[in-house]
């Protein structure tokens, strides 16, 4: 595996006014790695995702994507540099068809953002690619249905598809299996494993079985700081982590 760092966080902090929710976060994710971010509720996992993806800028430190600084950029600029994220609460285009939801992402990848001169139906490269992603996330049967009509787990799959559609190779997934049954979770994990093949993945996850089966490395975030980073085995046996967070789940 290529061990070149793809996403680097150096001393990243975030404060809302005088309230510091994150401080001194250092994290390095290497190419092709599947990295999990775990931590108790309120540890700042979502904040960290928001800071990395540009929803709001960090108040300290620097974030680099393949060596270039991305902290402080707008979300669309970060996405164009190759980092794409999903959302914990399903964030799709409810009234557009499932196909169209994905096509919006593919359009961005092809750079047809302000295309006004040609009908989209004639852009076969874009349509084919959207169809290919539709099949990869196993929603081809739902092609024409409004995305808002899908079942919850189908919407979660669409959410992942949309995250992939913009062609980014660094993928951030925010609790992709939240609210799913055991069976749905297994399917979702399998889907994530397949579709992120060859990409770099950072995933927030509560389900420890998902974390330990899917990911190469794990970082534990507690009170806005990284407590430990290591392989699933190292994290499992880390006393500090056990005390702070994992508790009985690992025992």
């Amino acid at each position: 595996m290529n061990r070149e760092p793809v996403l680097e966080l150096v001393g990243v902090g975030k404060a809302f006014g005088s309230l510091k929710v994150m401080e001194g976060v250092d994290l390095t994710i290497t190419a092709g790695e599947r990295h999990a971010l775990i931590g108790p509720n309120g540890a700042g996992k979502s904040t960290l995702f928001n800071v990395i993806s540009g929803m709001f800028p960090p108040t300290a430190g620097e974030i680099r994507l393949r060596g270039t600084r991305i902290s402080g950029l707008a979300p669309h600029e970060i996405n164009r540099r190759g980092l794409s994220r999903s959302f914990q609460i399903t964030n799709i285009f409810h009234r557009l068809s499932v196909f169209e939801n994905l096509r919006i992402g593919v359009m961005a990848r092809h750079g047809v953002r302000y295309g006004l001169m040609r009908p989209i139906s004639r852009m076969s490269a874009i349509n084919d690619e959207a169809n290919a992603i539709l099949e990869r996330v196993r929603l081809a049967r739902q092609h024409d249905r409004p995305a808002g009509d899908l079942t919850y787990s189908e919407q979660r799959a669409l959410e992942i598809g949309m995250t992939l559609a913009t062609g980014a190779d660094v993928i951030l997934l925010d609790e992709p299996t939240a609210g799913m049954s055991r069976e749905e979770t297994d399917q979702a994990v399998e889907l994530i494993r397949v579709v992120t093949e060859g990409k770099t993945l950072l995933v927030v996850e509560h389900d420890m079985s998902v974390v330990f089966s899917l990911c190469d490395r794990v970082s534990v975030l507690v009170y806005g700081r990284i407590l430990a980073t290591g392989t699933p085995g190292e994290i499992r046996s880390n006393r500090q982590v056990q005390e702070a967070y994992l508790g009985e789940e690992v025992a």
Partner: protein, 432 residues
């Protein structure tokens, strides 16, 4: 699809063939109908497709009209030579430029804040225009004459009508083509979820500015057509009334249906043409129609039409026809009662009636309504609207239940058909 093209062809043929047979008043009303339709279509690009509700679209309508009048004045002076049929290009250019500028600020925010900024832009122009002689001609406004061009004199109402028809048809065609482009699809995505659009690599603000400017451009064309038709414009074009009117037209017609705004604008323009001659309360009736449609058919007239077209094969007219007949009867009773009361009260409280009473030393002369004389204090007079209202209100729950039952049947059949569709064996077997 073929049926739709044929229907549009028939409507266009009627719009081309019929006006020469009509009087000037009608031709004028139809020109106004076209202008209102185009304005509402331009407005609906924002609310229907981008999900942005503008309360100040009169700004761009007015700017288009004034820009066109300036060009007409220059042509009149012979300082510029420009073809009369292409005058709306001035409105389009002015609408686009001012729209891009105002849109840049308005679209920094969404929702209520966006609506308030657009409102402020129109109000700014409305208060500025009467004091700015050079640009807006002060309170009197600007006036000019249409110049002949080619073999056409542009002297008759009919020629202006055809010019408006050509520009409206072309603009609506372009707006339709817009919905088929990648940017048109992105506009819909923006309406559904602006945040996700940003996280998929699009600059949401730039996108909104472009949509806004295009909407303002087509509004400017509509304003230009008005300037050409009236040969004059003043600051009242920027008034809140104009901004509100286009909102009403769009929602009565249905903002979710592509041609819905055309329906709303046509219905209300013709309504004004007919009813404003008959009664001074026509704006009240227009407001009542708007409120009723928003409450009971929130997708507008276009939404009702679309529902019927979508389920055409599943409609069972033996069920529906009695329900519609009953609903129509209820509507007629209640309309009769309301109109009777409004008109009677309007007469009784009018200054003319007060003057008539003074002439008769305080006696109450009969009022004339629907070609009959009614005594103000005779019970017969008030029994009529009371009976109509009572009949309407008694039958109303019944009519609503019948409507609901017959449409429930239609929707059940639609759902049954959908679930009965054979599901493909393999994921991915469906090709677009």
């Amino acid at each position: 699809m073929l049926a739709r093209v044929a229907a549009i062809g028939v409507v266009l043929a009627v719009l081309i063939a019929v006006p020469p047979l009509l009087g000037i008043g009608w031709q004028n009303a139809m020109t106004n109908m076209l202008i209102a339709s185009l304005f509402a279509m331009a407005f609906n690009l924002l609310i229907g497709q981008a999900g942005l509700l503008s309360f100040g679209h009169a700004a761009f309508f007015g700017v288009g009209a004034f820009a066109t009048l300036h060009l007409m004045l220059a042509i009149e002076d012979r300082s510029v030579s420009f073809s009369t049929p292409l005058l709306p290009l001035a409105g389009a250019a002015a609408g686009f430029v001012i729209g891009a500028f105002a849109g840049y600020f308005a679209t920094i925010r969404s929702g209520v804040y966006f609506a308030l900024v657009t409102l402020a832009v129109a109000e700014l122009l409305h208060s500025l225009a009467p004091h700015w002689d050079g640009l807006f001609g002060g309170e009197a406004g600007l006036s000019s004459m249409r110049m002949p061009w080619g073999g056409l004199s542009f002297g008759s109402t009919l020629e202006v009508y055809y010019l408006a028809l050509g520009w409206t048809a072309l603009s609506i065609l372009l707006l339709w083509a817009y919905t088929r482009t990648p940017f048109g699809r992105l506009t819909l995505a923006l309406r559904d979820n602006e945040q996700r659009v940003r996280f998929m690599g699009y600059n949401a603000h730039a996108t909104k500015v472009i949509v806004f400017a295009i909407s303002a451009m087509f509004s400017g064309i509509a304003g230009a057509l008005l300037a050409i038709s009236n040969e004059t414009a003043n600051y009242s074009l920027f008034s809140l009334h104009v901004s509100a009117q286009v909102v009403l037209h769009t929602f009565v017609g249905g903002s979710t249906v592509f041609l819905g705004p055309v329906i709303g604008a046509s219905v209300f323009t013709l309504f004004a043409f007919f009813v404003s001659d008959v009664t001074r309360s026509w704006l009240l009736y227009q407001g009542l129609v708007f409120v009723l449609i928003m409450l009971y058919a929130p997708l507008g007239i276009g939404g009702l039409v679309q529902a019927h077209m979508q389920h055409w094969s599943r409609l069972r007219w033996p069920d529906l026809a009695p329900a519609y007949a009953l609903a129509g009867a209820v509507g007629a009773c209640l309309t009769g009662a309301v109109v009777f009361l409004v008109e009677a009260l309007q007469i009784v409280f009018s200054p003319e009636y007060a003057a008539a009473r003074r002439r008769l030393d305080g006696a109450w002369p009969p009022i004339e309504l629907f070609g009959l004389e009614w005594q103000v204090f005779s019970p017969v007079t008030w029994i009529v609207p009371s009976l109509l209202a009572a009949a309407g209100l008694l039958l109303l729950p019944h009519a609503r239940r019948k409507l609901r039952e017959s449409w429930d049947g239609v929707l059940e059949r639609a759902e049954a058909e959908r679930t009965a569709e054979p599901e493909p064996q393999l994921a991915g077997a469906v090709e677009p």
